[in-house]
Structures are given as structure tokens and as C-alpha cells.
């Protein structure tokens, strides 16, 4: 092919869908002039799982299992977004304790997700040891998740109207231990990278995205904030009690790969701040809405002994619960940006339509803009800095 601007011969290079450094099954077709990227085209859909269709045939509680697997690095955000949408249609207000518990889990998840991003991002730029460090701390968080839900990833812990169970004994002690340990670990990562001259050479001034372009493309999350737009759904439209917490929203100035790195590092610190506030002020009380027996399962012990409760239990499990007719759009701030759930209910016990607005999908659209004019060796760095999860893109 011929480059129309310089009239020089160009070459087409296909990257993916199986590639060590594309965070899954992304395919990028690059048009190269020498080593410079002239044009690029993103091809997605290699992990399309048909989740939105599957959810239409599952009951509201069963759908939690499916949304978990959408963005597998941050399952609690998917759960909370979906559940807030259902609760909004049902008109439920959950107890304070539930809100705090949800925030603790979400912020832990944000740290875990950013740790995977940091590890893989550094790995792709040749700094292998960072990944070994970050996965070490990620195990601590996964152990906490396993302790409360029985599952390391894709927990399915939250329920409509609250939780299945309360935090187990010893959970808070272990969480406090994590809060004490983790700040020194973030410093450890920063010593490895922040002032590292090789790291800066490969990230500063690369893949710049201006604020106007970012907003026009529907980009959100750390990517948008690195471009200098201070927009975080947790502060702009607080949900689940985020208005009670004190935290900063880190913002970048240049919108390059290095700024995105700095923003995410600071976000981990702020998440830790939120968690420690939540642990300190964690209210006691029930972990479910009390006045909605049509949604909440009776205690297991009662269901085993009493006939009434048994029938009640059976009915909720087998038939589910109806959700009033209507439609709503609920957005939460996931580790990657605005995660929105557009839920349409026809009054039955299954969602009529659930459209998920995933952050990676919108963020990935801006990729050709960021790739234009950079060297081919930097393409991987830019893709890594978007922090896409292909399950989130393709659903």
C-alpha cells in the first residue's frame, strides 16, 4: 500500500488475536511506514460470549453469576452496578452496613485490578520483576475475597438487597493487617518504576490523548483523568454511600502513558484510604433489607425446621422475584471507568433487556488516535496503558 501523505510504500502488520502482550484476544491491524504507525484498525469480538442474551433467560439472582464473568478483573463492580440497577427498580434502600461492606469490597477490588494492570504493563515493557511483586500482594486480597465469599475471583457474593452472609470472624483483623502492610508495598513499586530512567524513557510523552478527544470518544476512568478531566462517578454522582468518605481524585496533566501510571498508583493509595475509613466506621446491623421477605431468603436454620419458611425459601429459589415494570440506567466507577447498566424490566422474574456499557469498550475506541505517529515498539505500551479487559470489551 502507499501512504497518501508521504507517498511512500507502507506495510500492513497484523497483531493478534493471539499475542503475548495484548491483554487477551485483541487484534490490531497496523499500517506501518518504516517503524512509524500511519494508521491502525482495531478488531474485537474474539471473546464475545453472548452474556446479554444469556441474562435474558436467567432469573435476576442467577444473572449475578453471569455479570461477574464480564470484567473478570473487577467482578465486584459488575455485581454492585447490576444490583444497584435492580434495587433501583425495586425501590429498595439497603442498610448502612451493606453499603460500607460493598465499598470495602469494591475498593479492594480496585486495588487488585490495578495490581494486575501494573504487573502486566511493566512485564510488557520488559520489567518482569514488577509482576512478581504485584501478584504477591494480589494474593493477599484474593485471600480476603476467598474468606468472605469462598471464591478467589468471580465471587457472586452480593445479592439483591444485601449480602448472602456477613463478613466471617477474623476478616476485619486480616483486612486491618492488609491496610498496615500495603502502603509500604506501593512505595516498593514506586522505587522500582517511578523514577526509573528506562521506564520514563518508554512512557513519558507517549500515546497522548487530549481532554476534548477523550470526552468526545466517551473515554472514562483513569484514562480520562490522566488527560486532566476531574470526573469520577464516586464524587460526581455518589452511590452506595460514597458521599460519606473523604478521598481525592487524582488527575494528570499531559494525558500520556506515564500520567496514566501515576494516576493509577495514586488511586490505589486513595482506595486504601477509603477502606481504612470504612473499616473504622463500619456500622453493625443486618446485612440484608429487613422488610422485604419477598426478595430475601429466610435464615437457613429456619428453612430447615419450619414448613412455612421452607416453602418461602423454595419459592424464592425456584421462581425468583418479580421486578416492577420500568427501565433504568445506573453507572458505577469501575477500575476502568464508567460501568453502566441499562436494565429494562417487563414485570417478570427475568430481565427483559440488560445492556452493559463497559468502560473498556469505549476506551478502546480511542486507540487509533493514540497510536497514530508512534513507533511500533511503543504500540504495546499504549495498549497496556488503556488497561483493557477483553471480557469487558466483548461481553
Amino acid at each position: 500500500m502507499v501512504n497518501t501523505e508521504t507517498e511512500r510504500d507502507t506495510m500492513i502488520l497484523n497483531v493478534g488475536p493471539q499475542h503475548p502482550s495484548t491483554h487477551g484476544v485483541l487484534r490490531v491491524v497496523l499500517e506501518l511506514d518504516g517503524e512509524i504507525v500511519v494508521n491502525s484498525n482495531t478488531v474485537i469480538g474474539y471473546l464475545h460470549t453472548g452474556m446479554e442474551k444469556t441474562i435474558e433467560s436467567e432469573r435476576y439472582v442467577q444473572a449475578i453469576t453471569i455479570v461477574d464473568r464480564m470484567d473478570y478483573l473487577s467482578c465486584f463492580f459488575n455485581e454492585i452496578g447490576y444490583i444497584l440497577a435492580v434495587e433501583k427498580l425495586l425501590g429498595i434502600e439497603v442498610p448502612e452496613r451493606v453499603k460500607f461492606m460493598r465499598i470495602i469490597l469494591c475498593e479492594l477490588q480496585r486495588i487488585a485490578s490495578h495490581l494486575v494492570w501494573l504487573g502486566t504493563h511493566a512485564l510488557e515493557l520488559g520489567a518482569m520483576s514488577v509482576m512478581l511483586y504485584t501478584f504477591r500482594e494480589r494474593e493477599l486480597i484474593l485471600e480476603l475475597f476467598e474468606m468472605c465469599s469462598g471464591y478467589r475471583m468471580n465471587s457472586g457474593y452480593m445479592r439483591v438487597g444485601g449480602f448472602y452472609l456477613d463478613f466471617p470472624d477474623g476478616f476485619i483483623d486480616r483486612l486491618k493487617n492488609f491496610i498496615n502492610v500495603f502502603p509500604s508495598k506501593i512505595n516498593e513499586y514506586e522505587t522500582l518504576l517511578t523514577k526509573n530512567i528506562i521506564w520514563k524513557e518508554r512512557t513519558v510523552g507517549l500515546g497522548v490523548l487530549s481532554a476534548e478527544d477523550a470526552i468526545n470518544f466517551g473515554v472514562s476512568g483513569p484514562l480520562l483523568r490522566a488527560s486532566g478531566v476531574k470526573w469520577d462517578i464516586r464524587t460526581a454522582h455518589p452511590y452506595s454511600g460514597y458521599e460519606l468518605f473523604e478521598f481525592d481524585v487524582p488527575v494528570g496533566t499531559h494525558g500520556d502513558v506515564y500520567d496514566r501510571y501515576l494516576v493509577r498508583m495514586e488511586e490505589m493509595r486513595q482506595s486504601l484510604r477509603i477502606i481504612s475509613q470504612a473499616v473504622k466506621n463500619l456500622p453493625s446491623g443486618p446485612v440484608n433489607v429487613v422488610d422485604r421477605p419477598d426478595i430475601i431468603l429466610p435464615p437457613k436454620r429456619n428453612a430447615e425446621l419450619g414448613m412455612e419458611e421452607m416453602i418461602h425459601h423454595f419459592k424464592i429459589v425456584s421462581a425468583g422475584f418479580p421486578v416492577p415494570e420500568g427501565e433504568t440506567y445506573v453507572a458505577v466507577e469501575s477500575a476502568r471507568g464508567e460501568l453502566g447498566f441499562y436494565l429494562v424490566s417487563d414485570g417478570g422474574n427475568k430481565p427483559y433487556r440488560l445492556k452493559v456499557r463497559t468502560p473498556s469498550f469505549a476506551n478502546l475506541q480511542a486507540l487509533p488516535l493514540m497510536l497514530k505517529g508512534i513507533m511500533i515498539s511503543d504500540v504495546i505500551a499504549v495498549i497496556a496503558s488503556i488497561d483493557i479487559v477483553l471480557g469487558d470489551v466483548d461481553r
Partner: protein, 161 residues
């Protein structure tokens, strides 16, 4: 919100069919042909400034007429304000593309086309995005079976062992 309703009624009275607010969410039902004008106005107006698109979804109301709805969720960074636009589309009709207003609408519209078969006229690349290019049928339509029309079978030729 009243400001919005007034402005919309004043500027595009023909285009807006209905404005309703439910659960603090405002939904504006727009005439399909005028969607680009309405979006352009909402995007460019300095007070409203709906400069960010959250998403575009399709809904299939099988059995009702018109059958499909396309739902636009837009957001104003300045006013921190969400708005839902909705157009109703009969089968085999196309909707004008808003990708000239928000470039981010490009992939969302392609996804709606891929899943529902609703075409967007004036779109730069109206082709499938998630499914393979040679796929038949539109998976999210209500009359499309969950497991697909053709159960996937690998012929003997594909399985040499």
C-alpha cells in the same frame, strides 16, 4: 431539568414527541428522523453541553409496533447531568447515525447493528463488530434462539483424529 424541556420544545418542537421523568431519570422520546439535529443541539448548546456519550443500546419489543427502540444515554460533564434519548424504529428501517456528533458513538452503533440489525445511515463503517463477518442472524433479537439457529457441528473433515 425544566430548562432543558423548555429549550428542547423551543428549538426542536417537531422532533420531540414526549418528555417524561421517572425515578429522577429524564427520557426524551425523539422522532427518528430528527435524532441528529436534536443531538447536535444538545451537544453544541453552551448551557446544556451534553458532550459525553455513555452508550447506545437497542431494545427489541417483539410483538409491539414499532418493534425496536434505540436508546441513547448522554451526559453533560459541565452540569453533571444525565439524559436518555429514545427513538422507536419499525423493522427494516434505519436511523441516522450520530457518530458525527460524538465520535464515540461509532462502535456503539455498530454493536446495535450487529445485535439487532438496525442500520444507521451515514455511519462511516456499518459492519459487524462482535460477531464474525459471515454470521447470519441478529443474536439479541427476541426471536433468535439462545443457542443459535445452527447447532455448531464440526464435520469429519475438520476433525482428522
Amino acid at each position: 431539568m425544566n430548562n432543558l424541556t423548555e429549550k428542547l420544545k423551543e428549538k426542536c418542537s417537531d422532533a420531540v414527541l414526549e418528555v417524561k421523568t421517572c425515578r429522577n431519570e429524564t427520557t426524551v422520546l425523539v422522532n427518528p428522523g430528527d435524532i441528529v439535529n436534536v443531538c447536535r443541539f444538545l451537544h453544541d448548546d453552551e448551557d446544556l453541553a451534553y458532550d459525553y456519550i455513555s452508550g447506545i443500546s437497542g431494545v427489541d419489543y417483539l410483538g409491539k409496533e414499532p418493534r425496536f427502540a434505540v436508546v441513547y444515554h448522554v451526559y453533560s460533564m459541565k452540569n453533571k447531568n444525565r439524559l436518555t434519548l429514545k427513538v422507536l424504529v419499525p423493522e427494516n428501517h434505519s436511523v441516522p447515525s450520530v457518530s458525527s456528533v460524538w465520535r464515540g458513538a461509532n462502535w456503539f452503533e455498530r454493536e446495535v447493528f450487529d445485535m439487532y440489525g438496525i442500520k444507521f445511515s451515514g455511519h462511516p463503517a456499518m459492519k459487524r463488530i462482535l460477531m464474525p463477518d459471515d454470521w447470519t442472524g441478529y443474536p439479541l433479537r427476541k426471536d433468535y434462539p439462545l443457542k443459535g439457529f445452527i447447532p455448531a457441528k464440526w464435520t469429519k473433515q475438520d476433525r482428522p483424529w
